[in-house]
Symmetry: D2
Subunit: 114 residues, 4 copies
């Protein structure tokens, strides 16, 4: 039962949304993974055929759509974490620590690949 | 500057990670959308060829991997929100309100489609 | 210049379509990979929230849509092969030979994983 | 029973590969759509973090991998067409005709969007 901005409180809202509609059968992990992937592609579609420069120019126009598609991705991700009792905050923090090890600052400054 | 569990504090950590490596050039919206989509597929791959029942059986074995792939999805999503100054919490809350309207409880109880 | 049903003749038609519109700039490998991935997701979306059994029931209804989305995937794939001068038929034949080695019949009969 | 380079003859090889392993149960349309989408992402991953210019430079190095991932996409697509008795050549030809209508040369020369 976190405060407003926490992952926990968003999670709770989503769990309630799902439970009110008795959608637990649909929100099984496999179908949620599909849904998340489909939403990620709808997000990606906004950048299709556009160079980085064109994207930068178009941002004011497409920023709200980006926010909506991103929200869909997060909603399905939070629902998956709910349905599997995954502590998302812990998982993210751990992954960031792993990435700190994997990409040491001195070797990866300004480069995404070695 | 939120407390531990908030989206804001996770966002801050990710922004710092990116900035230390001077990775802002890579973390442009188009490439982040690609990265997020690629991670969503790695998550999806864990469920490939498996029926819902097999997934349920395998969960103890694959739950940690699911958590890690999900964390990757969230990290890129948070980084995209950072790079575009999108208020993710607000975007998610709004989308949930939209969904409340779009899927009224009485018409969608137990059904994902009309 | 193959006969009607060959990959070559389909390739030629697509190359002509692209060239008439001077779309070579858009049909660069990176954006084609995005487009192909987006179309693959539109195909996947047709199966979202549906069990294998429901999919089987719904097939008569969605078969044409499946064909159209699949066609989009192939069109972008053929265009990518065009733009990179990849001999797709050879690539597919080779991959099938690799898969023959990787999945010997006696060890993989009836199982997708070992 | 097409000649070497036709979609039909590739289809036949894939059907035989699947049948020898009794993999029809895995190669159901939903899981094939997942597999195709996962492979499309593996293809996309080769372009991640790279500008169009960097992609052009790297092509000699990554062209073979691109061919292999593209082959995987086609193999799953052909297997899906098999499992649903979809005439892929006809579906592709029709879609190209549709696209001819939708993107008239004079209005779309040099532009992907209106």
């Amino acid at each position: 039962m976190g405060d407003e901005g926490s992952l926990d409180s968003l999670s709770d809202k989503i769990a309630e949304f799902v439970s009110q509609r008795e959608w637990e059968i649909f929100h099984n992990p496999k179908d949620l993974a599909i849904a998340l992937s489909v939403e990620a592609s709808e997000l990606l579609e906004l950048f299709q055929w556009r160079s980085r420069e064109e994207v930068a120019e178009l941002l004011p126009e497409i920023k709200q759509q980006i926010g909506e598609e991103l929200a869909d991705v997060f909603i399905y991700g939070l629902s998956m974490a709910n349905s599997l009792s995954i502590d998302l905050e812990k998982a993210i923090t751990r992954k960031l620590e792993k990435n700190e090890q994997r990409y040491p600052v001195d070797r990866f400054r300004g480069r995404a690949y070695e």
